[in-house]
């Protein structure tokens, strides 16, 4: 059974440990701005939302890529960017309606959550259990998929 990140905003305190863990894991730096998971703060409501790629099955980024640089990891299901194949055209960054694949100008490539190969650093770093890594079927993933179905290029099979 493939697993997926399950994020519960109600448990998030906005501590940004996930961002730090992600940047250390992927770029070897203590640098939240380079994190692939982002915590958004809603001070009026005292609410925090950690947010990253949902690894959707019909991935917009993957379909839009003109050079086939994005593919699914057979083991984890994560949609991964093959850096040598990515030309840096950024089409995926406008195609993804979730805004979770982004261009990194220093490298001239795009970057996104890759589930750390199946052992996500953000999950280990989260002190409140707001981010967990659980069986895909048990999460709000279906809700996300339902929402995704409303959006465009995405026409869904009617059957």
């Amino acid at each position: 059974m493939q697993k997926t990140l399950n994020i519960i905003p109600e448990k998030c305190t906005g501590c940004a440990q996930c961002e730090i863990a992600c940047s250390i894991e992927h770029v070897g730096m203590f640098s939240p701005s380079k994190s692939r998971i982002k915590v958004f703060k809603f001070p009026d409501e005292g609410r925090f939302v950690a947010y990253t790629c949902t690894q959707c099955s019909e991935a917009w980024c993957q379909r839009a890529c003109p050079t086939g640089a994005i593919s699914a990891n057979a083991e984890t299901g994560a949609k991964e960017v093959c850096e040598p194949t990515c030309v840096g055209c950024k089409v995926c960054t406008i195609a993804c309606p979730f805004g979770t694949i982004n261009y990194v100008s220093e490298r001239g490539k795009v970057t996104k959550c890759d589930l750390c190969g199946g052992d996500p650093a953000c999950v280990k770093a989260c002190p409140t259990g707001a981010i967990t890594f659980i069986d895909a079927d048990a999460t709000g993933y279906d809700r996300m998929k339902a929402w995704a179905a409303q959006t465009g290029g995405g026409a869904q099979p009617e059957a």
Partner: protein, 446 residues
């Protein structure tokens, strides 16, 4: 690549399904699915067909003597950051063979819906059960005297790119006609090749069909600061030979009376759907091949996708030709689902583009120039080259453009295509339009 082509030509005469007949008028070969055109739309269609029909025979016809490739990647080839193989749409060895997709070079010269056959240039006839036309577009050559000389090229095909690489040497005097979307992509590639570049755009700003005057002129001054001269509201009136100059063999005349000597003139004046081969086919045609929300043409066995298709738009009743990557691949998938018997309805094409102009990144989506009765939210910071303009209709976002932002730009698509009701976030966005990601999380994901 040569191996690839040889191999596909060797398949000539082989029958993929059913007996063949080499008489003219009947098909030499017959396939369940024929996809004509091997760009991103065609490749996506062929792969989606295979996903949903494990056994049906599939022929993918490419119009050029190349492996299927993406024109979008050509600028990166010009810059030298990739080799030719880097423009290919798929990279795994034997990708198409493994999917049992027959690839073959061939241009369609005629379609006969009554006999469900098509004729290739050179005379081969191919039968189909379902045909998908993904024959793309061609660059427009404006009616300007003197464009049929050596040293004048489009930048559309790999073959064009090879010639440009030869001519656009460091320090070469190069004129680029057109600073639209494609022109701007080529602009960056040429500038990075360190040519002496002059850009001529007849519109009043850069990318006039993607960005408003504030953004378009931001790009123009950015280019000027990087040493690239962009003449807007200027037309090329004529191109003359430049006798006596072995290097700059061309003389480009402008409507302001100036003449620019050039070694190379690159023409990027827009593209037009390839429709010439459809004379007499009886399909309904306007600017492109008219298709419905299933990407089906007026003939039930024929579908059309990508740059050649005029398909439903996301907003409004009019059908549109959107010659863009995201539309091409979305079309490809939905047409293929329907062709293989899985009913799928297209929500309509949303125009969207992303452009990197010498490091300044701009995006635009949908009704970026606003709709009647709509209102907007604007934030401009000329000093830091940052700009965002959101266009609303009632309580939802219908269009957007930005300059200088790369983070989470995709949510602009999410907000528009999700028709997300913004509620009180609309007022918050009017105060600070940069908060699009926050608005998205607050409105779409709760």
């Amino acid at each position: 690549m040569t191996g690839f082509i040889k191999k596909v030509f060797c398949r000539k005469g082989k029958t993929a399904s059913g007996p063949s007949d080499t008489n003219r008028g009947t098909s030499d070969q017959s396939y369940k699915y024929v996809v004509a055109g091997a760009g991103p739309a065609g490749v996506t269609a062929a792969e989606t067909l295979r996903q949903n029909d494990p056994d049906g025979s599939i022929l993918l016809l490419g119009g050029e003597p190349e492996a299927p490739y993406s024109r979008m990647a050509i600028p990166y080839l010009l810059v030298g950051s990739i080799e030719e193989e880097g423009t290919h749409i798929r990279h795994q060895d034997g990708h198409y063979e493994n999917l049992k997709i027959d690839c073959r070079q061939g241009r369609v010269s005629q379609v006969n819906p009554a006999s469900k056959t098509l004729l290739l240039e050179g005379g081969n006839r191919i039968g189909y059960d379902k045909l998908c036309l993904a024959t793309g577009a061609h660059p427009i050559k404006p009616p300007i005297p003197g464009l049929d000389q050596e040293g004048i090229l489009h930048c559309w095909t790999l073959e064009d790119a090879r010639k440009i690489i030869e001519l656009a040497h460091e320090g070469a005097d190069v004129v680029l006609m057109g600073a639209g979307f494609i022109g701007c992509i080529i602009l960056e590639a040429l500038a990075l090749r360190k040519v002496n570049l002059t850009v001529i755009e007849m519109g009043d700003r850069m990318v006039p069909r993607m960005l408003d005057p504030v953004a378009g002129n931001m790009l123009k001054s950015w280019c000027a600061n990087k040493g690239v001269t962009v003449h807007t509201a200027t037309k090329i009136t004529k191109v003359e030979p430049h006798p006596g100059d072995a290097e700059d063999t061309l003389l480009v005349d402008l409507d302001n009376g100036k003449q620019i000597p050039a070694h190379l003139l690159v023409v990027a004046a827009g593209v037009k759907s390839n429709l010439g081969y459809l004379d007499g086919a009886g399909l309904e045609i306007d600017q492109g091949i008219l298709v419905d929300e299933r990407l089906q043409t007026s003939d039930e066995n024929i579908y059309a996708i990508g740059d050649v298709a005029q398909a439903p738009a996301f907003e409004g009743e009019d059908k549109v030709v959107h010659a863009i990557q995201t539309t091409a691949t979305d079309h490809g998938r939905i047409a293929a689902l329907n062709m293989s018997g899985i009913a799928a309805r297209y929500n309509g094409s949303l125009a969207m583009n992303v452009l990197d102009t010498l490091g300044l990144i701009s995006v635009s989506f949908g009704e970026w120039n606003g709709v009647e009765g709509g209102d907007n939210a604007v934030s401009v910071d000329r000093e830091n080259n940052r700009y965002i303009r959101l266009e609303f209709s009632g309580g939802r976002l219908v269009g957007a453009q930005s300059v200088g932002r790369t983070d989470q730009v995709g949510v602009l698509r999410g907000l528009i295509e999700g028709r997300v009701p913004l509620g009180d976030w609309k007022e918050k966005l009017k105060k600070n339009p940069h908060l699009v990601m926050d608005a998205y999380l607050a409105c779409a994901q709760r």
